[in-house]
């Protein structure tokens, strides 16, 4: 695989450009600030992993890119451009033209994402007929070639199968086929392999990597598993408390993480070689998104926090080319100017 570093910043028109993206949910009790000012850039053909634990805002960010969060209860602010289209200004009609041909998504649990009462072939063909206006028969032929593309064995027979008749791995492949049915330029994947067994997970990851390369799509993965990121990502953005705290090319992030949260998370991850050693842990628990601290969201759990950390949210600064860290202790502001101006 070509691991050449993606020229995100240099690229004239990034596929995705998000600036100061904020998402909050109004609940009867409080306002939950799930995403608090996320900047994202993704080049065509690039693969970004958003890494975070539950409640970090990673899935909400992904859904915001497709405007899938429930409209009545959600407040989304900021700028969002995907493939030169202003997603924030889209009407419902424009959104349905946007979802599918420009951007599509695969979900964690294919059994609940697929419709149980229609066959796989019917569901895939439906999307093609809806978007491209071709005949049902032609759409079904396309569906067949899509199932072959995602390496489903005896694809012709599987077209007539209902989701419950397939194994977990085949179901996830079918959902990938459906997501690819309108040749999207951006594929979003929300924990696509979390529900799968280990031997199936690696098959799906390798398939996604292959498809991304062959079809030249931009891909954004959301995952809690650094192992998944190490297999598929070009760049990784680590989220905590609804903000990106560190972003770097994958090899740099794994080898030399800078933010205390990222190093804590990597230290806490069990891997070959931790046997007999005591795992380093991050004390405490993630913040309540309804009552975020005024300063750095990680400061209350951080062993290196200084008084200033609790006062204001630190800016995301570039420490080396392409490596951004939001921590005034490990990279003081006077060395570098903020990048998100």
């Amino acid at each position: 695989m070509n691991m050449a570093s993606p020229a995100t910043a240099a690229s004239p028109t990034p596929l995705v450009r998000a600036r100061d993206l904020c998402v909050s949910f109004a609940t009867p009790r409080a306002t939950v600030n799930a995403v608090n000012g996320v900047n994202l850039d993704l080049a065509q053909g690039e693969s970004l992993c958003i890494l975070g634990e539950s409640g970090s805002g990673k899935s909400v960010t992904l859904r915001a890119l497709m405007r899938l969060n429930p409209p009545k209860r959600t407040v989304v602010t900021g700028e969002l451009n995907v493939a030169n289209q202003d997603v924030m200004q889209m009407t419902q009609a424009q959104l349905s033209q946007y979802r599918g041909p420009v951007v599509s998504m695969i979900f964690q649990e294919p059994l609940s994402a697929l419709d149980p009462v229609f066959t796989i072939g019917h569901q895939i063909a439906e999307a093609i007929v809806r978007h491209e206006g071709i005949s049902r028969k032609a759409a079904r032929a396309r569906a067949l070639s899509l199932l072959e593309l995602v390496q489903i064995p005896s694809a012709a027979r599987r077209l007539g199968a209902y989701p419950h008749e397939l194994s977990g791995g085949l179901r996830q492949r079918a959902m990938i086929a459906m997501a690819l049915s309108c040749n999207p330029r951006l594929l979003l994947a929300d924990e696509p392999t979390t529900a799968l067994d280990a031997t199936v997970q690696i098959q799906i990851l390798l398939l996604l990597r292959k498809l991304q390369r062959e079809l030249g799509m931009g891909v954004i993965f959301v995952t809690h598993d650094i192992g998944v990121a190490s297999e598929v990502a070009d760049r990784v953005a680590v989220m905590y408390g609804g903000r990106v705290v560190e972003e770097a090319p994958v090899e740099i992030l794994i080898r030399s993480p800078r933010h205390p949260y990222t190093s804590g998370l990597l230290g806490a991850t069990v891997h070959a070689g931790t046997r007999g050693t005591r795992l380093t842990t991050i004390p405490g628990a993630p913040p309540d998104l309804a009552e975020l601290p005024a300063g750095c969201a990680f400061a209350p759990r951080c062993t290196r926090a200084e008084p200033g950390c609790h006062k204001a949210v630190p800016p995301l600064l570039e420490v080396t080319a392409g490596h951004h860290v939001r921590c005034p202790v490990v990279c003081p502001a006077r060395i570098q100017a903020p990048i998100n101006v």
Binding site: E53, S54, D197, I202, Q203, D225, G227, I254, V270, I282
Partner: protein, 338 residues
């Protein structure tokens, strides 16, 4: 006050022996067709030594959770028996009430395994009270246990499960499992539902408690990294059968069974410069209703040949305490010895 049950057989007597343990779940009867069964666990034998941690790994449907429920006697085995410290369990031997005082379980889903209408204190002191401990003593014991799992009793004892985070609830489940001074704890995916940073906290806690309370663990997980971290010996299951069993170092550094090799090779590389290029296995595990004849792994195995479809493979010992159930392993060993 409840005391820990004394050791009977001495250190050489395995704490638990599973002998020919089998569980077949019948499917609903249909006319014209032969009655079908799911062979969830099929004739497995293993033992757990005193003070060790036995890890059980395998993919969904391999029978690892059914095995844990058979060990706990939560479900009746189709055949086979469980022997605890030299005594068989059931009518002639150890009564269930006495057995369950010594063997406790922690489940994956920390929320559904706690009664939502009982406070933490009530949940933990429930079992000791059932076993005749006066309420005041049960409560003071509960507070000790909360301290032991790292939760301040003054802050948490009167709370309800929904007021706690996943990691805290799993600590409560561990405290509850300790309440009767058990000798063996069966941990069924205890950290699978937790975030990585919390997973590390709970794993450290489990390792500490094992030392502090002189426990033996059966640790069931689908995560090989976690099992490698905590287990002394590892048992690999595939479709209701044991594929391989051995000491953790030997099994992870030198896996013999093709399935164990594939499982290990399926782990993400954790190094972007050495990414996997080829998946070690294709397809999903087959349906346990009609498992393949002979060796159950043969349909996904690259080494399989005619014999594998005809006969179930015997257990072949590769090293002391390390054996695999595979025709290819047995054949290779034969060649080497000749």
């Amino acid at each position: 006050m409840i005391e820990r049950m004394p050791d009977r057989g001495g250190p050489q007597q395995p704490l638990l022996i599973a002998r020919g343990l089998t569980k077949h779940f019948p499917l609903s009867k249909s006319l014209m067709r032969r009655r079908e069964v799911v062979q969830a666990v099929d004739n497995i034998d293993f033992s757990v030594m005193k003070g060790e941690t036995l890890g059980i790994v395998g993919e969904s449907g391999c029978g690892k959770s059914t095995a844990s429920r058979l060990i706990m006697q939560l479900i009746e085995p189709t055949s086979g028996e469980v022997i605890f410290d030299g005594e068989s369990i059931g009518r002639s031997g150890l009564s269930l009430k006495k057995y369950r005082r010594q063997v406790q379980m922690v489940f994956q889903d920390s929320y559904s395994s706690l009664n939502p209408r009982l406070t933490i204190e009530e949940s933990i002191s429930y079992a000791p009270m059932v076993h005749g401990v006066p309420k005041s003593k049960a409560i003071s014991r509960t507070h000790e246990l909360l301290e032991a799992v790292g939760l301040a009793p003054s802050q948490y004892a009167r709370r309800y499960p929904h007021e706690l985070s996943g990691g805290q609830r799993q600590r409560i489940n561990i405290a509850r499992a300790l309440a009767l001074h058990p000798r063996l704890i069966v941990l069924d995916e205890p950290v699978s539902a937790l975030d990585k940073s919390v997973e590390a906290q709970v794993l450290n806690l489990l390792i500490d408690l094992k030392k502090q309370f002189d426990l033996t663990y059966i640790f069931i997980s689908h995560d090989l990294n976690v099992v490698e971290h905590v287990a002394d010996r590892v048992l690999v299951m595939y479709l209701g059968k044991i594929a391989e069993i051995g000491p953790v170092d030997s099994l992870f550094s030198d896996p013999a069974h093709p399935y164990t090799q594939a499982l290990l090779d399926s782990r993400p590389s954790m190094d972007p410069s050495r990414r996997r290029t080829e998946p070690p296995l294709f397809g999903d595990p087959p349906n346990p209703i009609n498992p393949p004849s002979g060796c159950r792994f043969r349909t996904r195995c690259r080494k399989a040949w005619g014999l594998c479809a005809e006969q179930p493979p015997p257990f072949h010992q590769i090293k002391p305490n390390h054996s695999a159930s595979c025709h290819a392993v047995a054949l290779e060993a034969e060649r080497v010895s000749e």
